[in-house]
Amino acid sequence: MSLALEFRGITKRFPGVLANDAIDMKVEAGHIHAVVGENGAGKTTLMSILFGLYPADAGEILVSGERVRFTSALEAIRAGLGMVHQAFRLFPTLSVADNVVFRDEPTRRGMIDRAAGAEGVGALAERYGLAVDPRAVVETLPVGVLQRVEILKALYRDARILILDEPTAVLTPQERDKLFEVIRRLRDAGRTILFITHKLGEVMAVSDRVTVLRDGRSVADLVTAETNPTEIARYMTGRQVDLDRRAPAHEAGGAVLTVTDLTVTGQHGRAAVKNVSLEVRAGEIVGVAGIAGNGQSELIEAVTGLRDVPDGSIHLHGNDISTSEVLTRRLAGMAYIPEDRHGVGTSHLATVSNNLLLGHQRRDGFQSKGWFDRKAVRHHARRLIETYGIRSGPINSPVSTLSGGNLQKVVVAREMSHGAPLLIAEQPTRGVDIAAIEFIHDRLITFRDDGGAVLLVSAELSEIRALSTRILVMFDGRIVAELDPAEVDEAAIGYYMTGAHEEALSG
């Protein structure tokens, strides 16, 4: 069996960090090879070195047996490598074909031949079973299709080795399954796929082999058929991990949050939330599932006071808070872990201590008559850092020095530290490593068991299913289903998420 790609002893040191430590990896031609590892394990650095974004300090890379050293991504592409990034790099106002042929346009007498381009792209898509209309304008297409456009871009340049970086992060379960079909078809056509992920289920579902990275080293090279998720997780984290935790059912108490007939206006003045009613009771976690952009963000912004409520009402413990200021809601017992932890949940340039204080700065323990009790503020910060195991420097160092997982712990610690009876948790574990996910999930469950009410919004169906007492599915601004997590699988939730049930009803 020939090797499509080989890394030999790749080492890369950044100031204070050994990002890649003598990584060896062999990728066989015509295989789907998964690369897994937690955040900071060195996956991104390794791929950046492969694509010539920066040189390795030591080691070498071989493509089809030949030593290569790319100095730019363009060289890598010419050598037959294709990268599909997490964030799509497309021109939204151009057609699929225009995007695909960009910089490699077919020409006729020196002029771009757009018809030939569209035809070629259409043929290519058909050959690999990628259902894409080459003439469709990119901005009108759903995310799953955009990803296929990115794949087409690589195939159009005849990439022999296709690298997919966390490709499923933005997909619904159905779209994910379609992607896997495409990947398998590409493999069967002789292409080599490098599949970068941190989701073990996907590794098991689609890969032939798997390399596990941890702390910049490759710690395991496994044949997928001969391993299991628990073993991979153990290599990823260096310890035993229980993957099948389910939050046991719990007796729910009285209503904490009541949303009645809520309508919220989103961008461009259209209704983003339509006539939504829901209730979160003490001691339960209500999970809201849905594809991004179906009104979840607007619902949460309305509940937390960041967006006006034109119609309907929001009650917290029976008090109408529909028009209350954010601070009033917070003091009345609402805590909020926001989706965008960099832009909303923290302030990069402010200190760890200041980040842990926001939202509580007017509480009596911390200040009197507008002057801080600095000892109390300091003590609060130190206590949270200790209780929540936040790895940070001194409390007056900027929060930007923290890793993603620790940054999220800052947000979680701040929001959960004042015994608020209601917690709004929006994508609480997005982009953080397994250890932090476990920790945050534990905290949410403990909070629930202590009688707290949680409204959870997550794009991770596994998270929704693992934590929720009840699942609400949002589609097109409405709640289209209320499901019992014990009785449904991900496919069933996905069915409602895409609005498929409505199509079924309307025939």
Binding site: F14, N354, G359, R378
Partner: protein, 370 residues
């Protein structure tokens, strides 16, 4: 400074203890080196010129002049920094200064009574007038979504026109050829501290203001909330800070400081309000540069304000004695600011090359001040 439980008042990279590593120091060295080269290339003697500049700024009457000129520079820098630090881009310092200055002058001229009463009242009225003037752009932003950046700047011209009208047609002193109000009576003039040949008591006022602002920044809830709003408005809103209301307060404070400084310029310095004089002085803009150089830190503003004042006063002496144009002082000021501004570029460049150090790690601090 001992341990800082809250942010250093103006935040990252601006603690006094960090001055050696502060880009400001680099900027100064850069500016003076380039200035040296300019003088040398034009056939002058840079060493002599710099020595004359230094002597002119700190010896003899130079020290008094430097301290006196530092009063409005530091004051206007404080006014602008209060707003900038909260993320409010107030470019209306000039208008707030002339409106407040004229209002204070009118009180000083026409209010009867002893100086101990008239002077404080004039200051308060000047401050109130400046604050009210500053409220116009503030309310324009919070109520009508007109950006303060634009309105505060344009209102400077309106302020010039209104005060010009009042001086010419309502308050004109016919006995002189100047377009000016009457003189402030001797009793209503700001007395002088009998040191260095007499410096206005406004110096004490400014120093007190520096300390008060420094303490408020570091220890009060308002100082914290304004800082958070300045660093990240979305984070501040999320945390329950009422950013709109805060913008109004902050503009009022900035305008009040501007108005008080404007009043001082008449009661403590010129003794008559000459139309256009405060605008020509460029004090509001020098203050803005000082605030930038000091990164809004009140103690650094005091230092930087003294420096710029010394440059301007020393520059005149240099022209007199070394035959090098005083405009070199302006060139030096400009170079310092260019160097400070380019630090943003350095940081940006550094960030680019650092990208991907540890996936999931966020950007280094130091960008996005002001």
């Amino acid at each position: 400074m001992a341990e800082q439980p809250l942010d250093a008042p103006a935040g990252v990279g601006s603690k006094i203890g960090n001055v050696a590593g502060h880009p400001a120091l680099f900027s100064l060295i850069f500016a003076f080196a380039l200035g040296w080269a300019i003088v040398w290339l034009t056939g002058g003697d840079p060493w002599f010129a710099y020595r004359e500049m230094f002597d002119g700024a700190v010896t003899g009457s130079g020290l008094r002049n430097t301290l006196s000129r530092a009063i409005p520079i530091v004051g206007m820098a404080l006014a602008v920094s209060v707003a900038f630090r909260s993320g409010v881009i107030n470019l209306g310092g000039e208008g707030q200064m002339v409106v407040g200055g004229l209002a204070g002058t009118v009180v000083a001229i026409y209010m009867p009574g002893p100086g101990q009463l008239v002077i404080p009242v004039a200051m308060v009225v000047g401050g109130l007038a400046g604050a009210l003037w500053a409220l116009l752009p503030a309310l324009g932003q919070t109520r009508l979504r007109l950006p303060i950046l634009i309105t505060s700047l344009l209102l400077n011209y309106v302020a010039r026109a209104i005060t010009g009208y009042l001086v010419r047609f309502r308050l004109l002193d016919d006995s002189v050829t100047l377009t000016s109000t009457e003189q402030v009576p001797a009793t209503a003039r700001m007395p002088k501290i009998p040191v260095f040949g007499g410096v206005s008591y406004s110096l004490l006022l400014v120093v007190v203001l520096v300390i008060v602002i420094w303490v408020v920044y570091g220890r009060s809830v308002s100082g914290y909330e304004t800082r958070m709003a300045g660093l990240n408005g979305r984070f501040a809103r999320y945390g329950g800070i009422q950013v709109e209301r805060q913008t109004v307060y902050v503009m009022a404070v900035a305008g009040a400081i501007g108005g008080v400084i404007g009043t001082h310029m008449i009661l403590g310095d010129a003794y008559r309000y000459i139309d256009g004089e405060l605008v020509l002085s460029g004090l509001a803009w020098t203050g803005l540069l000082v605030a930038l150089l000091a990164n809004n830190h009140p103690l650094l503003i005091l230092a930087a304000g003294l420096l710029f004042s010394g440059l301007q006063i020393g520059g005149l002496a240099m022209q007199r004695n070394a035959d090098v144009s005083w405009r070199l002082a302006q060139v030096l000021q400009a170079l310092v600011i260019v160097a400070v501004a380019s630090r943003l570029t350095f940081t940006w460049f550094k960030r680019r090359t650092d990208r991907g150090v540890t996936p999931g790690e966020v950007e280094p601090a130091g960008v996005g001040e002001v």
